[in-house]
C-alpha cells in the first residue's frame, strides 16, 4: 500500500490501541465526577503512582506488571477511599465545587511530592522482555505491549460495566449519578457511595497505570500532561458518562495519533485542545452528558 495510506492506517491503529488505556483512565475520572460532581485533578497522579507501584513490584520481585494488577488495584482502591474521606468529605458545606477542584489538585501535588521523595525524579519505565517486540500484520506494526494494553483495558472496562450494571453497589452509584437526592430518599447512602466511588475511580487508575508504565517513560511530574489529556476526554465524552468517556478516548487518541503520523507531531497535542474547544462551543454537554441547568 502507498506510503501515506500506510502511515494513516498505522496512525489509526496506534490511536485505537492507545485509546484503550486512555479510556480506562478517563472512565475512572468521569465516574468520580458523576458521583460526586468533583473533577478529580489527581487522576493523573494516581495513574503515575500505580505505574510506580507496578514498576517496583517488577524490579524488586520480578513480578510481571500485568499479573500484579489485582494487587495494585486493591491498594489504589484503598488509597482512593482514604483520599475521599480525609480530603473531600470535610468539604461538604462550603462551596465544594470550587474547593474540591483545588483540593484534588493539591492532592495531586502531594502525591507528586511523595513520589519524588520515594522514587526520585529519574524517568522510569517497566521494561519487561516483551516490551520491544511487535507483530506485523498486513504491513502494519502492532507492538505487543500496546495490544496487551488494549485487551487489558477492554477487560477492565468490561468488569467496570458489570460492576455498574449488575451489582447493588453499581446501581447505587448510577442512581447517585442520576439524581443524588432521589437516591438518598430511596435509601442509598450517598456518603458511602461517594467514598467507594472515588476508590473505584482510583482502582481504574491502578490498572491503567500498570499498562502506562509499560508503554511510556514516566516520572513524578508526568501527571500534568496526563491530566490535561484526560480532562479533554471526559469533557468530550460528557462529564459523568462512562460510555462517553470510552468513545471520547478512542476519538481523541486516534485523531491525535493520526495528526502526529500524517502531519506533524508538533501539532498532535493541539488535537486534544481543539477537540475540547469545539465540543464546548458546539455541544457543551459532550457526547453523552446531561444538560445542566445553568450551563450553556
Amino acid at each position: 500500500m502507498t506510503g501515506s495510506v500506510h502511515a494513516l492506517i498505522q496512525g489509526v491503529v496506534l490511536g485505537i490501541l492507545t485509546g484503550g488505556v486512555y479510556a480506562l483512565m478517563a472512565s475512572g475520572q468521569t465516574l468520580i465526577f458523576g458521583i460526586m460532581k468533583v473533577v478529580n485533578l489527581a487522576q493523573g497522579a494516581l495513574v503515575v503512582l500505580a505505574a510506580y507501584l507496578s514498576y517496583t513490584l517488577f524490579t524488586s520481585f520480578g513480578l510481571d506488571p500485568l499479573l500484579t494488577i489485582p494487587l495494585t488495584t486493591v491498594i489504589m482502591f484503598g488509597l482512593g477511599v482514604v483520599i475521599q474521606l480525609v480530603f473531600l468529605r470535610p468539604l461538604k458545606r462550603e462551596d465544594s465545587a470550587q474547593l474540591s477542584l483545588l483540593v484534588t489538585f493539591a492532592v495531586a501535588l502531594l502525591l507528586e511530592g511523595f513520589m519524588s521523595v520515594v522514587w526520585k525524579t529519574t524517568y522510569r519505565s517497566t521494561n519487561t522482555d516483551y516490551a520491544n517486540s511487535s507483530w506485523t500484520l498486513l504491513g502494519i506494526q502492532f507492538t505487543v505491549v500496546r495490544v496487551i494494553a488494549f485487551v487489558l483495558s477492554l477487560i477492565a472496562l468490561g468488569l467496570l460495566f458489570l460492576l455498574l450494571n449488575r451489582t447493588k453497589f453499581g446501581r447505587a452509584v448510577r442512581a447517585t449519578v442520576q439524581n443524588p437526592m432521589s437516591a438518598e430518599l430511596l435509601g442509598v447512602e450517598s456518603k458511602r457511595v461517594a467514598a467507594l466511588g472515588f476508590g473505584l475511580g482510583a482502582a481504574t487508575a491502578a490498572a491503567a497505570g500498570s499498562v502506562y508504565g509499560l508503554l511510556y517513560p514516566f516520572n513524578s511530574g508526568s501527571h500534568y500532561d496526563l491530566i490535561s489529556e484526560l480532562l479533554s476526554i471526559v469533557v468530550l465524552g460528557g462529564l459523568g458518562s462512562v460510555g462517553g468517556a470510552v468513545i471520547a478516548a478512542l476519538i481523541v487518541s486516534t485523531s491525535s495519533a493520526v495528526v502526529a503520523t500524517v502531519f506533524s507531531p508538533t501539532w498532535s497535542s493541539f488535537t486534544f485542545f481543539v477537540i475540547l474547544i469545539l465540543v464546548l462551543v458546539l455541544r457543551p454537554q459532550g457526547l453523552y452528558g446531561t444538560v445542566e441547568r445553568g450551563a450553556l
Partner: protein, 344 residues
Amino acid sequence: MVRGGVFVAALVALPLLGFEHWVLNLMIFTLMYAAMSSAWNLVGGFAGYPSLGHAAFFGLGAYFVGIWFQHHDVVTGYEPFVILPLAGLIAAVVGFPIAWVAMRTRADVFAIVTITLLFVAQTLAFNLDSLTGGAQGLAMPTPPFELARFEWPFYYAMLWLLLTSMALTYLSMRSKVGLSLDAIRADEDKALGVGVHVQGVKVLAFSVSVALVAMAGGVWAYYETFTYPQFAFDPIITIGMVLMCFLGGRGTLWGPVIGAFILVPGQQYLAYRLGGSQFYLIAYAGVFLLIMLLMPRGILPTIADRLRRRRAIASSSGPPPSSDVPPPSSGAGTNVPVPSGGAA
C-alpha cells in the same frame, strides 16, 4: 484607610531604606504575586469563576514585551515599562472573546477550559517559533540600569500593578459592578432574572483581570532577561495566584495581598534554605490542603468571623447573628463570604 495608607507608604519607601539586593529581589516577586493574586480575585473570588489558566495571559504579556523589543530598541531602559499598558490592552482584547465563550459554562467546566487554554498557549509558543523563538526561548533586551539601583524600576512597576489592582478592586466593590458580581456569585440565574448584566459584568471582570496579569508577565520577562514557553506558561504560576488568594481570603480587598506576603517569602525561603529536599513540594501541597480543610474562606474572613463572634459573645446581648448567612453586600464591606453553589 489610614492603616492601608501606612502600608502603602511603607512599600513605596522600602527601596530607599537601603536594603540588600536580595531583599528587593524577594519583594519584586512578592509584589508580583500580590498583584496577580489580587487580579485573579476579580474573577475567581468576586465573580466566583475559578480560572486555572491565568498564566496563559502572564505568558502573553511576557512574550508581547519580548517580541516587541525584537523590533524596537531599548535606549533608556524604561521603554518596556512604557509599553506595558499596551500589553494589558492586548490581553484584555484577547481575553474578551475567550471569556464570552468560556463563561457561559459551569464553574468546573470553566476551570477545565482555562487549564487547556494554558496548554494551548504554551503549545503555540513552542510551535510558532519564527515569532516566539520556540523552544530556544526569547531573549529580552538587557536592562541598562546601574547595579546599585537595578531592582528599583522593577520593584516600582510591580508595586504600581498591585496598587492599580487593589484600586480597581476597591472601586468595583463600591460600585454597581461589585454588586453585580456578588449577585452572580450567589445565584447567577436569579441575577439574570433580576436584570443584572451577567454576561457583560463577567467578561469585564475577566478582561480586567487578565490585563493586569499580562502586565505583570511583561515586567517579569524583562527582569528575567530571557523567557521560555514552559516557564512563561507555567501552571505553577496560576497555582500560586490561586493559593494566595484562597489563603488570604477570596472576595476581599486585602486577602490576596496577605496571601502573597505570606507565601512568596515562605516558598522562596523553603526552596533556598531547605532545598535539596523533595519535602518542599509536599509542604506546599500540605499548606494548600490545610487551608482548604481548616480555613476554606481564607485568613481574613475567618479572623473577622472569630472576632465578630467573640465580640458578640462578650457583649451582653444574645448570640451573634449567624455568620453563614452573608450580610447583604452593600459594596462597603470588605468581608464577603462566598456562599455555596457558585455558578455551578
